[in-house]
């Protein structure tokens, strides 16, 4: 799959999540669906990143903009679609050091990338869906989250249109 590694960098749409854990598979399913669409511009790279941990940095490196698709437990009804924005900011003094490499989450990875001066996007749009079940092993999304997939795709297209028009 060399297209993922060697594309000319522009906008990246990144699917995060674990495809084995029911609704955790959302990000990857959305990317697969987008890859089947023929009208996504060539300047957009679609990446099934899975659960990259710190490696998200080498995925993001060189892109000017990124849209990340994942689930997020923010307390809404399962299937609720959220659009969030992560902005670069000065690193906070976190009151902990990690016990294991397995604790490096998305935000911590970004902070590290920004602190180290990597050329990663300074603004990342996250399109997230409230999960119903992300603990059971299963390859299918729950019906609530599955019904949100077209909405997520529509939102990605809307975001892309905005970014591409303002370029």
């Amino acid at each position: 799959m060399p297209t993922e590694q060697y594309s000319t960098k522009g906008i990246a749409i990144i699917g995060l999540g674990n495809p084995l854990l029911t609704d955790e598979g959302l990000g990857l399913q959305v990317i697969r669906k987008l890859k089947d669409d023929t009208d996504v511009p060539d300047s957009v790279t679609m990446i099934e990143a899975g659960t990259p941990g710190l490696s998200i940095l080498s995925i993001l490196e060189g892109y000017s903009r990124a849209i990340v698709v994942d689930i997020a437990q923010l307390g809404g009804k399962p299937g609720t679609v959220y659009v969030l924005s992560i902005e670069k900011q000065e690193p906070k003094k976190h009151p902990l050091n990690i016990g294991s490499m397995h604790e490096v989450d998305f935000i911590s990875a970004l902070e590290l990338g920004w602190s180290a001066g990597l050329t990663i996007p300074t603004q990342i749009t996250v399109i997230a869906v409230e999960p119903k079940d992300y603990r059971s092993f299963g390859l299918e999304l729950t019906s609530e989250v599955s019904e949100a997939v077209p909405l997520v795709v529509k939102e990605i297209r809307r975001q892309l249109a905005t970014v591409l028009n303002t370029k």
Binding site: Q5, N18, I59, V83, L96, N97, G99, M101, H102, S136
Partner: protein, 470 residues
């Protein structure tokens, strides 16, 4: 402190999920367990498939797998040292909580080192992508070999990356020397009783008993360093048994031929460790020149073999980093890695197979049984953290007993207890085969009458504090 228990309150269920699936899917499925060492799972799984289908990969495929695997070790060990270990040593175990993390380390060592860390990690991932098809969750391992060769151009690029990784490994060892080994306080800490756990050690070795991450026999040495056992992965059940406790989901593997004596160390207890430190302890040396000389210096400095000091695991990891980078260069310079013959097509009826590799954190065993059509009937995984489960518990207890006085559990003391745990870099997502995600560490302190007197939860980074709705 009378006792300290380390509980893992997760649920199991991964093995059940795999049953009934085509066995060829296992490298992909198991590499999805978590994002930290997908390469290790995919490799153990691919080797188990070789055994299930009774097929021998061609030499180029074995070399490509090992090349890929060396790049994985480079990426993992670099990150592990700088992100996980460095905050305790660069900032100091007693530094304020808010500074004792990678951001603090960058502040102290400078941005240059941070970008160098990320660059060398990223380059190793590039090598992984060139060989295995993609950076994360690669799926090119198939029974009998790999699904694609590399080009001469890719081989040359990997060779160049390897050169740079060797230099970076040397620089990292120098940093360890300057910061840790030149500081008598740290040397004392490393050698102190609080961080010493005398156990058996386990790891893979080649035919000359040299460290090997990808293949070989499992060698076990006793706490005095004498060879206790040496066996093929396929025979693991004759040597390793698993003890179950009702209060934790995670099993305790132990050496069957010594026996389970509880969570105790020493020669009469079957508790063993399978860590970077263990790999150096069980071997007679390294196959590459620079790593061999570091290996000799390691045992000379610490004055004994085997070394039982848990914190030396960090140093051992850096020697392995150098070895992995050197091995990466060796393999990339072998013209055979660019061969087009990378697979033997299996023809035997699938049945059963075991695949063993050294994951960055320790020995990793995958064992599958299938029906005649290759559908999974049974899966057993023993991952590095599970191998080390009993030893981790003992190390925590020892550190708690030596470091906690009365019921004074200050942040510094708690961090020092955590350092015993951190040296193993445990992975409970894959050990319990459940949800990857943030580990929540909760410390409960009970008095002599088993009454809970204090509960300390390690605060978590609030996931949403950076989100602003747009």
């Amino acid at each position: 402190v009378e006792n300290a228990y380390f509980q893992v309150p997760e649920l199991r269920g991964f093995e059940k999920f795999c049953e009934g699936r085509p066995v060829e899917e296992m490298p992909d499925i198991t590499s999805r367990i978590c994002g930290v060492c997908p390469e290790a799972h995919s490799m153990a799984s691919t080797k188990a498939l070789d055994a299930v289908f009774s097929v021998e990969p061609p030499p180029a495929a074995k070399k490509l797998r090992e090349l890929f695997y060396s790049a994985y070790f480079v990426a993992d060990h670099i990150t592990n040292f700088y992100i996980l270990a460095a905050p305790d040593f660069v900032m100091g175990p007693s530094a304020p909580k808010g500074d004792r993390n990678i951001i603090g380390v960058i502040g102290k060592l400078g941005h240059e080192i941070a970008s160098s860390v990320l660059k060398h990690r990223s380059d190793a991932l590039d090598a992984i992508a060139m060989v295995g098809g993609r950076r994360i969750h690669p799926t090119w391992g198939v029974p009998g070999g790999v699904s694609k060769p590399i080009t001469e151009e890719q081989r040359a690029r990997i060779e160049k990356i390897a050169e740079s990784e060797i230099e970076f490994a040397k620089l990292t060892l120098k940093l360890f020397d300057d910061i840790v080994l030149s500081n008598p306080e740290y040397v004392h800490l490393i050698e102190s009783d609080a961080y010493t756990t005398e156990t058996y050690h386990m790891g893979l070795v080649d035919e000359q008993n040299k460290v090997n991450f990808y293949d070989g026999k499992i060698r076990v040495v006793d706490p005095d360093g004498n060879e206790f056992a040496k066996f093929s992965g396929a025979d693991y059940k004759e040597h390793i048994a698993e003890h179950v406790e009702p209060w934790t989901y995670l099993k305790y593997p132990y050496l069957k031929n010594v026996g389970w004596k509880g969570l105790v160390s020493g020669k009469n207890s079957g508790v063993y460790r399978a860590t970077p430190l263990s790999r150096l302890n069980v071997a007679d040396g390294m196959t590459t020149t620079l790593a061999q000389s570091e290996y000799e210096r390691f045992f000379r400095t610490l004055g004994r073999k085997p070394v039982h000091s848990t914190l030396s695991t960090h140093w051992a990891r850096l020697i392995e980093l150098l070895h992995a980078a050197e091995r990466m260069r060796e393999l990339s310079q072998d013209p055979e890695v660019a061969s087009r013959v990378v697979r033997t097509i299996p023809s035997a009826t699938p049945d059963e197979g075991v695949g063993v590799v050294e994951a960055a954190r320790g020995t990793l065993i995958h064992h599958y049984k299938t029906d005649d059509n290759g559908f999974v009937k049974k899966v057993n995984l023993i991952v590095a953290t599970t191998n080390n489960h009993a030893a981790i518990s003992i190390s925590i207890k020892r550190a708690a007993q030596e470091l906690i006085r009365k019921d004074e559990v200050s942040d510094t003391v708690l961090n020092k207890v955590e350092m015993a745990f951190r040296a193993y870099d445990p992975c409970y997502a894959c050990a319990t085969h459940t949800l990857p995600g943030q580990m929540r560490l909760e410390v409960n302190i009970y008095d002599g009458k088993r009454k809970l007197v204090r509960s300390i939860r390690r605060p978590q980074i609030a996931q949403n504090e950076h989100f602003a709705a747009v």
